[in-house]
């Protein structure tokens, strides 16, 4: 059977196999002993924008990407009071599916939980202060503009339906001037509306509420020492097999006296 041949190669190259396997075991032992227990510190924030829509996930995604890009790190460090010797943990964010809830989280060892809590609080404040705040007056203006634009759109549909080809019925020429003025008014309003939409306080104005404050999990997450060691056993076994097969391959090529691709 082919599988017996496979194992016979491993047996022939057993020294190589066991040296790789042992190296992986030793590495696994060190990693599982030396790796500190890691805890998740997480907080939940609600991010919403009335101007974009109460159910839009655009703003939470913007927050998530901004935080993960690291561009706010210097501000967060300053706000959290992390000194020169301190280290800002890698902050992550996740938008909970189909909601406006953003989970801000990080994984740290027990000794860094306090720093992580401060960093998350600081991140929350930096986001709240860094983006334009929602203003009721501005939101109302955008909302009114949006309604006006919708009404104009409806009117345009009616005109298109009632005047095929844009021609006025005979005897209604006096209406033409009035209509022209009206259309000019419309285009000015639409242009103002589109400018309003481009403003940062329309696109990015948001309200952030803290749903739950930063808190560390009581049980460590990630791999237990036994699990880590088991993963290294697997790694060592397959790496040992791969190296043994590779060595046999090289030996065959040398024996043949010619290269094989």
């Amino acid at each position: 059977m082919a599988i017996i041949n496979f194992f016979s190669i491993i047996w022939i190259r057993r020294k190589l196999f066991f040296s790789v396997f042992s190296a992986a075991l030793i590495a696994g032992l060190f990693v599982s002993i030396l790796t500190p227990k890691v805890y998740e510190v997480a907080m939940l924030a609600e991010v919403r924008s009335d101007t974009i829509g109460p159910f839009s996930t655009f703003v939470p995604w913007t927050i998530m990407q901004t935080l993960e890009s690291g561009s706010l790190n210097s501000k967060i460090i300053a706000k959290a009071g992390i000194g020169v010797t301190g280290r800002l943990p890698k902050l992550r964010a996740k938008v909970l599916h189909n909601t406006q809830l953003v989970k801000l989280y990080t994984f740290v060892p027990a000794s860094e939980i306090e720093t992580a809590v401060n960093a998350l609080l600081a991140a929350y404040e930096v986001i709240r202060d860094g983006f334009p705040a929602q203003s009721d007056a501005h939101s109302r203006k955008v909302s009114e503009m949006l309604q006006a634009a919708n009404r104009l759109n409806e009117s345009k549909k009616n005109i298109d339906l009632n005047m095929p080809g844009g021609r006025l019925p005979p005897g209604t020429e006096t209406l033409s001037r009035e209509l022209s003025d009206w259309v000019r008014g419309l285009s000015e309003m639409l242009s103002e509306y589109s400018e309003l939409l481009q403003e940062p306080r329309t696109r990015y104005a948001l309200g952030v509420n803290m749903v739950s404050p930063p808190e560390a999990e009581t049980t460590p997450i990630g791999a237990s020492p036994a699990q880590t060691f088991a993963a290294f056993v697997l790694l060592g076994f397959f790496a040992g097999c791969a190296v043994a097969l590779w060595a046999e391959d090289r030996a065959d090529i040398d024996k043949d006296g010619k290269g094989r691709s």
């Binding site: 189909n98 097969l245 046999e248």
Partner: protein
């Protein structure tokens, strides 16, 4: 011994000029491993990939190295197909999940890094089972079957059938019902598969324009499939070529230049994928995340495994039996009102009230379960592992038993075994899906099988 036996017996002398595909995959595996390490160091762990996932994915990578070295010494189509899947759809997904921790599959139900770790472990164990299953045979290698003598090869009927198949798939030509039946009778994918077999088997006998014609069929297949919204056309063609090549040559070797072309084809495949996604849903625009979701068979396996108790309502033998009766054996009427499991899964995770054929028709969606997800959900982890081992053994047994006096028949039947292994086994949509497809396709396929074996290659050229 693995070493001395196969090299002389397996390949024709001229094939030594090429580079074995497994050597290329060794480099790919190295690249993916480096990507996983880099992504972990740069991005750190997240909700779906923790430090244990990282260690396990390194072990998974070592396993793939091991299989690749083994398959380089003793070429085996099943192991090679399995490793291709493992590299591009499972191992690479760990890197992309580290880079962008979002998956449309993981939000269906509760999912954590522990679930992903279990999935990686099960995939590793299952791949060992496949490796073991296909290697429980005497080590006499697979001989190349390429026909070297000059023959006269005819391509008129295959080209005509391919054209009919494409034509009947156009919505402007036929109604949905006619298209459904026509796609069974004039299945242009089968015809393309036969054409590729002809190309590889009778390469020396084909005249230049015949070779160009078959290449044109392949290119047209990719363009047509993409145009109708299929996102895996180029990938399907690639796997067909691997299967055909292995059946004919006994191993998959390519020239160095071809590997460069393959690497260059990756961006083309990405563009085609995005284009096909756009054809499907123009309103959504081009979304790169969709590509990551589609490549992530790991996501589908892991999610099915993690929520296997929920999906147990449709992933079970009784439901398979009912869905096969309704979808494959009762034309025009239904006995159990049971949709295929892959169609019913979405009704479970979207919490639809009841599962019926009507609900599936109204909200059509098919979810790939993959071999690993289905085995774990259907039989449980241990029995699932044993089931995979037995299935892999049977695939190899049948593959090696496919020997006919006519080389064409041998190659076609072996190619079909490999295509089934890749399409219905590794990328499983459920056993019921396979049985229904088998029932529908068996008769037309056998007809084509005998038609082509008699028609394509005849008279010896007298020089």
């Amino acid at each position: 011994m693995l070493g001395p036996l196969p090299r002389e017996g397996l390949m024709p002398v001229d094939d030594r000029k090429g580079v074995d595909f497994s050597s290329f995959l060794l480099l790919v595996n190295l690249g993916i491993t480096a990507a996983i390490i880099a992504c972990f160091l740069i991005k750190g762990p997240n909700d779906y990939v923790n430090i244990r996932s990282f260690y396990l994915s390194l072990a998974f990578s070592a396993q793939n190295f091991c299989f690749l070295f083994a398959v380089r010494r003793r070429p085996d189509p099943f192991v090679l197909l399995m490793v291709i899947h493992a590299l591009f759809f499972y191992e690479l997904r760990v890197a992309t999940l580290l880079w962008s921790p979002f998956s449309i599959v993981f939000v269906r139900n509760l999912f954590s890094a522990a679930d992903l770790n279990f999935a990686i472990l099960f995939v590793m164990a299952a791949n060992c089972a496949i490796f073991l299953g296909v290697n429980l045979f005497p080590d006499h290698g697979l001989r190349p079957l390429q026909v070297r003598e000059k023959l006269s090869v005819r391509l008129g009927v295959p080209v005509m059938l391919f054209a009919f198949g494409v034509l009947f798939n156009l919505s402007s030509v036929a109604t949905a019902v006619i298209r459904g039946y026509a796609s069974i009778v004039f299945n242009y994918e089968y015809v393309l598969l036969f054409a590729l077999v002809i190309y590889a088997l009778y390469y020396d006998s084909l005249v230049r324009r015949q070779r160009i014609l078959i290449v044109c069929m392949a290119v047209f297949f990719v363009i047509f499939r993409t145009a109708i919204g299929s996102r895996s056309a180029i990938l399907t063609l690639f796997f067909y070529i691997v299967c055909v090549w292995f059946s004919v040559r006994g191993r998959f070797m390519l020239a160095k230049k071809t590997y460069l072309a393959l690497v260059a084809a990756v961006p083309i495949a990405l563009v085609l994928f995005l284009a096909a996604s756009f054809v499907r849903a123009p309103i959504k625009g081009l979304q790169f995340q969709e590509l990551l979701d589609r490549l992530g068979l790991l996501d589908m396996s892991a999610e099915i495994m993690a929520s296997r108790l929920q999906y147990g309502g449709v992933v079970n033998v009784a439901h398979y039996f009912k869905s096969v009766i309704d979808s494959g054996l009762t034309p025009g009427f239904n006995l159990f009102d049971a949709p295929k499991a892959a169609n019913a899964v979405s009704a479970i995770y979207t919490a639809m009230p009841g599962i019926s054929l009507q609900i599936v028709r109204d909200n059509y969606n098919s979810d790939m379960m993959t071999l690993y997800g289905e085995a774990c959900a259907l039989l449980g982890p241990l029995a699932g592992w044993a089931g995979i081992l037995i299935a892999a053994f049977l695939f190899q047994k049948i593959y090696r038993s496919c020997v006919f006096a006519d080389t064409f028949k041998t190659v076609v039947s072996r190619t079909v075994i490999l295509v089934i292994f890749h399409t219905y086994f590794l990328g499983s949509f459920g056993i019921d899906w396979f049985i229904v497809d088998f029932i529908r396709s068996a008769a037309p396929f056998i007809a084509l099988f005998y038609l082509f074996s008699r028609y394509v290659r005849r008279t010896l050229v007298r020089v």
